[in-house]
């Protein structure tokens, strides 16, 4: 009883430590964020201009075009440029603040979105089904509205999306696409995505799926959530809270193809659970078989060959990294045989955990009193049937906590399954990360999901153990 109390106290202290650590971490994030914003330097106009020029010179031609278009055609006056870190420039114009990211794609998106100002919701309300001429006019108007200080845009807006360097031709959006865009936005996205051909200067050009300009087109159309709000001038703490909120929305609630992004995690979770449960089942079956073979060999000397095979299996499985096993099983054996990545992962994790389970079970069998085997044998049961009816049930109970640990380990180990393309929990998080370019939220989110799973499982096993212990004490 005293021990139990001690345990509870220890637990509480531990939980308090965890909580403290979490609070400390949150504080660290807050402080780091505010420090980061404080250290951003204010530049003079000349410096800013030179940085802009520098950056523009560094940009590939495709992006430079859009940038030049902005500064020349729109006559945007650059008030200041702030450099908050190596990769990020904040361009403060007359009308709005835009981030100029050093990374290529991000930059391109912003420019394109700004240049074409496709804010379909607003336009949709005014002109539900317009033709291309009206759209062009409308875009011009939108620009002029946003850039009043910059004066009227006189030049016609060419809906140029990419200038492809290698082949030296330009890609224009066809009128049909634009009509479709403003008539039904989603349809247009689908249309562009599925498009195989484009008309370029009167010639039909094939768009293959892996060339960047197709993605460029798609992204151009999906940038409906482009933010043209005034700069956020609230106090840093609120600013930070806002940014956290926006990050959260961007990482989990924004939709790709009509599905909110958190669904990547939900779908991944399903696969993770499927893989873990199935491979645990395989692992337990293999583990019990191997353990029984080894114990039988130890105590009766039978099954020499079987025991040798088991030892070989154990050395290989415990002597090589799990990821290498995964890659070998999938790419060397199962992929050529046409087996999918999920079944392969199940096979691999099952084989691997079987090795560890067998050692656990072997310990469990050896912990059962020898008298149990003798009693079973004296009644006339064969060795194997005594094992099955009498020794193994007791061994199973004895090793349940260790098995639970193995299950928990396995659950965490399945996170390498994404290497062979299993869309598990980890890959779900990585997918979000690759879409939003933010690491903190998606990665911490999957860590939390793993943690909840593990804690839940521990609790379940505790309950199961308590039930098994009822009516059974030696």
């Amino acid at each position: 009883m005293n021990n139990k109390k001690k345990l509870i106290t220890t637990k509480r202290v531990f939980l308090a430590c965890l909580l403290l650590a979490a609070v400390a971490f949150a504080l660290y994030v807050v402080i780091a964020q505010s420090l980061a914003s404080k250290t951003s330097r204010e530049l003079t106009a000349e410096q800013a201009q030179s940085i802009v020029n520098e950056r523009l010179a560094l940009l590939p031609k495709v992006q430079a075009d859009a940038a030049v278009y902005l500064t020349n055609n729109m006559s945007v006056e650059v008030k200041s440029v702030t450099q908050s870190d190596d990769r990020s420039l904040v361009l403060d114009c007359d009308v709005a603040t835009y981030d100029l990211y050093g990374t290529v794609e991000e930059n391109l998106d912003k420019y394109l979105a700004l240049a074409y100002k496709i804010d379909h919701e607003r336009i949709e309300k005014k002109l539900p089904k317009a033709n291309s001429t009206i759209i062009r006019q409308n875009i011009k108007d939108e620009f002029n509205k946003d850039f009043e200080k910059a004066g009227k845009v006189e030049k016609s807006l060419e809906l140029k999306i990419y200038e492809v360097e290698e082949n030296d031709f330009q890609l224009y959006l066809s009128d049909e696409v634009i009509d479709a865009l403003y008539g039904d936005y989603k349809k247009a996205v689908a249309l562009v995505k599925d498009a195989q051909y484009c008309t370029i200067d009167g010639q039909q050009v094939q768009i293959s799926n892996n060339i960047p300009y197709k993605n460029g087109i798609v992204e151009c159309f999906t940038l409906n959530n482009y933010d043209s709000k005034k700069p956020d001038t609230s106090i840093p703490a609120v600013k930070w809270l806002n940014s956290v909120k926006n990050e959260f929305i961007r990482n989990f609630l924004d939709k790709d193809n009509g599905r909110p992004r958190y669904m990547y995690i939900v779908d991944g979770l399903k696969n993770t659970i499927l893989v873990t449960l199935s491979s645990l089942l395989i692992g337990i079956v293999i583990g019990f078989i191997v353990a029984v073979i080894r114990v039988t060999n130890d105590s009766t000397g039978a099954l020499d060959f079987g025991a040798w095979i088991c030892k070989l299996y154990l050395s290989v499985m415990r002597g090589t990294p799990l990821m290498i096993q995964l890659l070998i099983i999938y790419f060397v054996f199962l992929l050529p045989a046409g087996v999918g990545s999920i079944p392969s992962a199940i096979v691999c994790f099952g084989l691997n955990s079987g090795a560890y389970v067998s050692e656990i079970v072997r310990g469990g069998i050896m912990s059962v009193d020898k008298g149990q085997m003798e009693a079973g044998r004296s009644l006339g049961f064969t060795y194997m049937r005594t094992m099955y009816h009498i020794v193994l049930p007791q061994a199973f109970k004895a090793v349940l906590p260790s098995l639970a640990n193995e299950f928990i380990t396995l659950l965490k180990e399945t996170s390498v399954a994404f290497y062979i393309g299993v869309a598990d929990l980890t890959l779900g998080g990585l997918k979000i990360r690759s879409i939003t370019y933010s690491s903190f939220m998606p990665l911490v989110a999957i860590a939390i999901v793993y943690l909840i799973l593990v804690l839940g499982l521990s609790k379940l096993v505790e309950l199961l153990e308590r039930r098994l212990r009822k009516g059974d004490n030696r």
């Binding site: 009193d369 008298g371 149990q372 003798e374 009693a375 044998r377 004296s378 009644l379 006339g380 049961f381 064969t382 049937r385 009816h389 009498i390 049930p393 007791q394 109970k397 009516g471 059974d472 004490n473 030696r474």
Partner: protein, 243 residues
């Protein structure tokens, strides 16, 4: 019923520990044999050789004219006819008393469940534990456990019962209840071989007493002969030291 010829048993990798050094014995049907002797004398080993829980190194054991030391014989079949009771009971802790008694009959004798349970209840009544049918071994006292263990062995309807120091692990006040069950069993005519230190029991129940010492049967005779007029000096010494 059981004939032992030239039984040797050695332990250790090279057989350096010789426990049984040539035992010849014949046990008739209905006999109640009590084996006594100093510890380390080979009593338990001898008993355990009878149903091959220990593998004899050399020698022959015939059970109903069947050679059980022969590699070809199905020892599991023969063990069903030889009940065994252990010093430490060895009840199955994960099963209730009822399940302890019905497991083997259902699985090995192919009895149906109802029949096995009916028989189990009869046996529990005989050992005076009918009310404990649904208890688990951990809820029983030592004496109760041992009585259940006897009932469990009897559930297989054995022709011989082997007792390996059935009362040695019991508190003194619990010994009586187990011995009385054994006496009842003896009165019903069961063939019994019993290793024990309960001299009273030996005197009262045994038809023959074997004194084992240093791996051989040093002396054999009726209880009167052994207890009142031992011939072998080792027997004398042993009886003096315990009485």
């Amino acid at each position: 019923m059981i004939t032992v010829k030239g039984l040797y048993k050695e332990f250790g990798d090279k057989g350096e520990i010789k426990v049984l050094k040539g035992i010849d014995e014949h046990i008739e049907k209905g006999e109640k044999i009590v084996i006594i002797g100093p510890s380390g004398g080979g009593k338990s080993t001898f008993l355990r050789c009878l149903n091959r829980l220990e593998e004899p190194t050399d020698g022959q054991i015939l059970f109903k004219n069947e050679c059980i030391t022969d590699k070809k014989c199905d020892i599991n079949k023969l063990r069903m006819k030889m009940g065994m009771v252990f010093q430490h009971f060895n009840l199955f802790p994960h099963k209730s008393v009822m399940e302890n008694l019905t497991l083997a009959p259902i699985k090995l004798l192919k009895m149906d469940k109802a029949e096995a349970e009916k028989q189990a209840m009869e046996l529990l009544e005989m050992v005076g534990l009918a009310d404990k049918a649904n208890a688990y071994p951990s809820q029983l006292s030592g004496g109760q456990k041992q009585r259940v263990a006897i009932a469990r062995a009897l559930a297989m309807k054995p022709e011989v019962m082997l007792f390996d120091e059935p009362t040695s692990a019991l508190d003194p006040e619990l010994v009586g209840e187990v011995l009385s069950v054994m006496k009842k069993l003896a009165d019903e005519g069961m063939t019994m071989v019993c290793v024990t230190h309960e001299m009273g029991f030996a005197k009262e129940v045994a038809t023959r007493v074997l004194f084992m010492c240093d791996g051989v049967i040093a002396e054999s005779g009726t209880p009167e002969e052994i207890f009142t007029n031992p011939q072998n000096p080792r027997t004398k010494q042993f009886l003096q030291s315990i009485l």
